[in-house]
């Protein structure tokens, strides 16, 4: 547990991706099975425990600590797990050092992991969980304000549980045994390990590590492409001993026994207009680029004949539970690549609408009825047992059309091809999808996908095969109002910019903030913007500076964004999607920046789909 704890602790504070990889790879290389496997499971979000939940932690806290001190502390710290981890009354030291004042073992970082860790080789004699759980915990003074000399001088040093023991205990203990078990662990762990344990229980590690990154770290152990790990991942189970054996070249490549595995997706490169001259339109096919969520739908039969159906996100998370309505429609064997959309009366709804379904935590029948999930497919990776990825796209397309026709389910349809014979023709279609066959769905289209007709399905982002040719973004000239410091590498720069547009206020024309952008500029531009902010500061609010702005003073930023949404949380009533600094208009006087009306017009175009819904919701509530 200690080594795992030290890793989490370090990762939580490390902003750099490569450094995170280094820390994880180092941990995997120096930690034996099965500990490292359970750690991988924790970091990839695979672990979940039936009875170990946040309520348990709160209950323990109230039982073991002075409630006034507990709530004052929770209020101060703001996070339940962390509060409990920090203030859990330390069990009196039973080491030979006792007799002096019992200091908590908090942060004995120096040799953390080395001294007390009992690794897997010692697991022949792990203390059974029940014994740990029943370890008598002495009465402690309120709030851990403990200064009595240690009791129990002659007891042996407490056994610090390994991560494997913790996972085992959390998975197998009965609901009634669990509080004592967890309390017993909290008594013997140091404060960082307590934090890690409680985070494990609440399922919120929040250490800035995606499942993909953790798998990449494993792959790096053996110089294996991360996609290879991804490919076999869903057939594996924690603690992943086979996987580690394989990447360390001690064992064979584990077979993917999962009948419905995830396959890493093929990604595209952005297409710049100047690239077109180098490409021959005759070699390419085009589809609409839908403004939805990319998914992979996979079904396969288990040995017992039952059909396993899964929906994966682009990064390989199993998101089936969020889309029961779609899972039901998956009556095929194979793997499809497509876009999640919300369709109402055969019309594709805007991303705003889709977001309303994604934002809900629990999937109720009402939600499913109001926001029916739909899969618009554009590729097929496997059919039955047959892997189709090596086939050229035209061939896969033929197979895909066949399967969709056979399926005959209105929830799943084919993303149509956009016919074109020259780049000019495609450019025209991209400019006006409605006229080029998309009809009323045009509002949900954000450009074209351009794919080589002979391309195999290559995981990752291979060069020269697939391109995304996005619709031009919306642009608005806005005035810089506030700047905040960035994070990580950028923490010494004012790199987050809040900008506003003009509107008629009670006291005449005023700027109202409409968004925040923190990318889109080069490093040199950042330096120049940073200098501008420092030299034109009017007010400071902690890490935020308000700069000079007005009709004749201030800086105009040309901001690009993908879409707009109504928002009651923003003063201006609108929120932008993907805003970024497109150009810095050092030359433009702020008085000539855009007005809120310009945004209202953009909003009006895409809003028809949002409004009826809001009315419905109101109607239902009243």
């Amino acid at each position: 547990m200690n080594r795992f704890t030290a890793l989490l602790d370090r990762l939580a504070y490390e902003p750099r991706r490569n450094a995170k990889l280094r820390l994880m790879a180092d941990y995997f290389a120096h930690t034996p099975d099965p500990e490292r496997g359970w750690a991988l499971a924790a970091m990839t979000g695979v672990l979940s425990f039936r009875y170990a939940k946040p309520g348990l932690i709160r209950g323990l806290a109230e039982e073991r600590m002075d409630p006034t001190l507990f709530y004052l502390s929770w209020d101060y710290v703001g996070d339940l797990s962390e509060t409990v981890a920090l203030m859990w009354p330390a069990a009196p030291s039973s080491s030979p050092l006792a007799g002096e004042v019992a200091r908590p073992q908090a942060g004995s970082e120096g040799g953390r992991g080395a001294e007390l860790e009992i690794d897997a080789t010692a697991s022949s004699t792990p203390a059974p969980p029940t014994r740990l759980g029943l370890r008598p915990s002495p009465p402690s003074p309120p709030g851990g304000g403990e200064y009595a000399p240690g009791i129990g001088h002659n007891t042996p040093p407490p056994h610090v549980p390994t991560l494997s023991e913790v996972v085992h205990g959390l998975s197998t203990a009965s609901k009634s045994d669990l509080p004592a078990l967890v309390a017993g662990w909290l008594d013997v762990l140091d404060e960082t390990a307590r934090w890690a344990l409680l985070k494990l229980i609440t399922g919120e590690l929040r250490i800035g590590v995606s499942a993909r990154l953790a798998k990449t770290a494993v792959a790096n152990l053996g110089d294996i492409p991360p996609d290879e790990v991804e490919h076999i991942w869903h057939g594996l189970e924690p603690p992943y001993e086979e996987l580690f054996a394989w990447v360390e070249r001690r064992g064979p490549r584990p077979e993917s026994r999962d009948p419905a595995p995830f396959r890493p997706p093929m990604l595209s490169h952005p297409l710049e207009e100047e690239d077109l001259a180098k490409l021959d339109a005759a070699h390419f096919m085009a589809e609409w680029k839908w403004d939805g969520i990319r998914l992979q739908a996979v079904c396969g039969r288990r040995p017992d004949g039952r059909l396993v159906r899964r929906i994966y996100s682009r990064t390989g998370e199993d998101v089936s539970r969020a889309f029961p309505d779609l899972v039901e429609a998956l009556e095929f064997e194979g793997a499809l690549d497509g876009e999640l959309l919300i369709l109402r009366e055969d019309r594709v709804q805007s991303f705003n609408v889709l977001q309303q379904r994604l934002n809900r935590r629990s999937v109720t029948p009402k939600l499913v009825a109001e926001y029916p999930a739909h899969l618009r497919v554009y590729d097929i990776l496997a059919e039955g047992e047959e892997d189709l990825r090596a086939l050229p796209l035209v061939e896969r397309r033929r197979r895909l059309e066949g399967l969709v026709a056979q399926l005959a389910n209105p929830r799943i349809d084919l993303s149509p091809l956009v016919p074109f014979s020259s780049w000019d023709e495609l450019a025209a279609a991209r400019r006006d999808p409605a006229a080029a066959g998309a009809g009323e769905d045009a509002a949900a289209i954000e450009g074209c996908m351009v794919k080589r007709a002979d391309s195999s399905y290559v995981p990752g982002r291979p060069k020269g095969l697939w391109f995304k040719w996005k619709r031009d973004p919306h642009l608005v000239d806005a005035v810089l109002m506030y700047a905040a410091r960035g994070s990580g590498k950028r923490s010494s720069f004012y790199s987050d910019y809040t900008f506003g547009v003009w509107r008629g206020g009670e006291e005449g024309e005023e700027l109202v903030p409409v968004g925040k952008a923190y990318f889109g500029f080069t490093d040199e531009e950042l330096q120049r913007l940073d200098r501008y902010v420092r030299n034109h500061t009017m007010n400071r609010f902690g890490p935020v500076r308000e700069v000079e702005y007005g009709k004749d003073k201030g800086l105009v930023l040309e901001v690009a964004f993908e879409g707009l949404q109504r928002s009651s949380r923003h003063k201006s009533g609108v929120a932008m999607r993907f805003p970024r600094v497109h150009r810095i208009r050092w030359d433009k006087p702020p008085r000539e920046a855009d007005r809120i009306e310009a945004l209202e017009r953009i909003l009006a175009r895409g809003e028809a789909e949002v409004y009826p819904l809001k009315e419905q919701a109101k109607g239902a509530a009243s």
Binding site: D66, E82, G110, G144, Y147, R485
Partner: protein
Amino acid sequence: MVCCIGRLTWSPATGRAPQDRATLTGSVITAAPSADADAYIPAMALTCTDILTQTPQGLCCPIGGFHIDPVRPVERALITHGHSDHARAGHGAVLATRETLAIMAERYGEGFAGSAEAARLGEERRIGEVTVRFVPAGHVLGSAQIVIEAGGCRIVVSGDYKREPDPTCLAFELVPCDVFITEATFGLPVFRHPEARSEVQKLLESVALFPERAHLVGVYALGKAQRVMALIREAGYDRPIYLHGALERLTELYKSEGVDLGETPKATGARKSELGGAIVLAPPSATQDLWSRRLPDPVTAFASGWMRVRARARQKGVELPLVISDHADWEDLCRTIAETGAGEVWVTHGQEDALVHWCRTQGLEARPLHMLGYGDEEEGDLGASSRPEHPPDAESRDRGEADPAEDSLEGA
């Protein structure tokens, strides 16, 4: 005589009369408190509130004619230690330890007070109606508790203190007393400082893990900077430790007081290549600012008791939090209160509510003084959740951001 505004001005929240406390501390209650402090001369015994009261200037001893760590200019001030929230310039006469006087002179110039007198540790002196003694507090170089006795009642004003050993200053000395006046900067049970040595070990391990990157450690200019350096030296690290200009003069002062800190060159004078793998100390505000850009791919560390709370550390963009504090943690606050045997505890500043609550659960009388004006230097600045980004003081903030003209401001 020094003005004390009226008699005791208790926080209305506590709502108890001073007499109750007097009974509890075992002092004999004399005449009913008079409205005129000057006219009231105790005949036999004194209550603690006759000896010490609270005024807008700070704690005041009317029968001794002085204030302790006053936040506004007064005629006669006793100063516990050199942090700028406790030691301010502009008093008529100042009594403090020789080291504290030196720190004040370094910060404010020789004319920081009308007159200054050095108090020798442990030596009793009569001031007005009271006897006063300075006793080591273990907080920073020269820090002292002030023990006041009169009429059989002993009050200890501890200033800021810690119990953990510190190679740069004398250890805290326990003085049994009737009334113990304590700070509560880390007065919540979530604050338990690990051993500072193990935190420094963490820093050195990181230096070994990232030998090409500079390690930039945010430290407060007085006390923390020098303690961290001393601990790094104790751990056997003998390469130069580079300093931000704002840390230089107090570091020189420590060295001249005999604290061995090894070689501490100026970071601004060093080449960027030289700083790869080096440890660099700077005031907290400079770690996130222009100044830090001179360093190769720095790992940002921060040495403070606040680093125990993750959100705090992340808010400050800290990658390597080092929980090293010059204040007592929760356990040491509780332990110290208990060990003094005091029946009554006054809590000056910090997280008063929790500590007062704890005292009451132990059967002790306790009052929060809610004193304003303290905690503005060093760790106090991070304490209030409402202003987590507030820099230690305007002075060091400006220093930190003044790049590239930083050098011109270092003397401040």
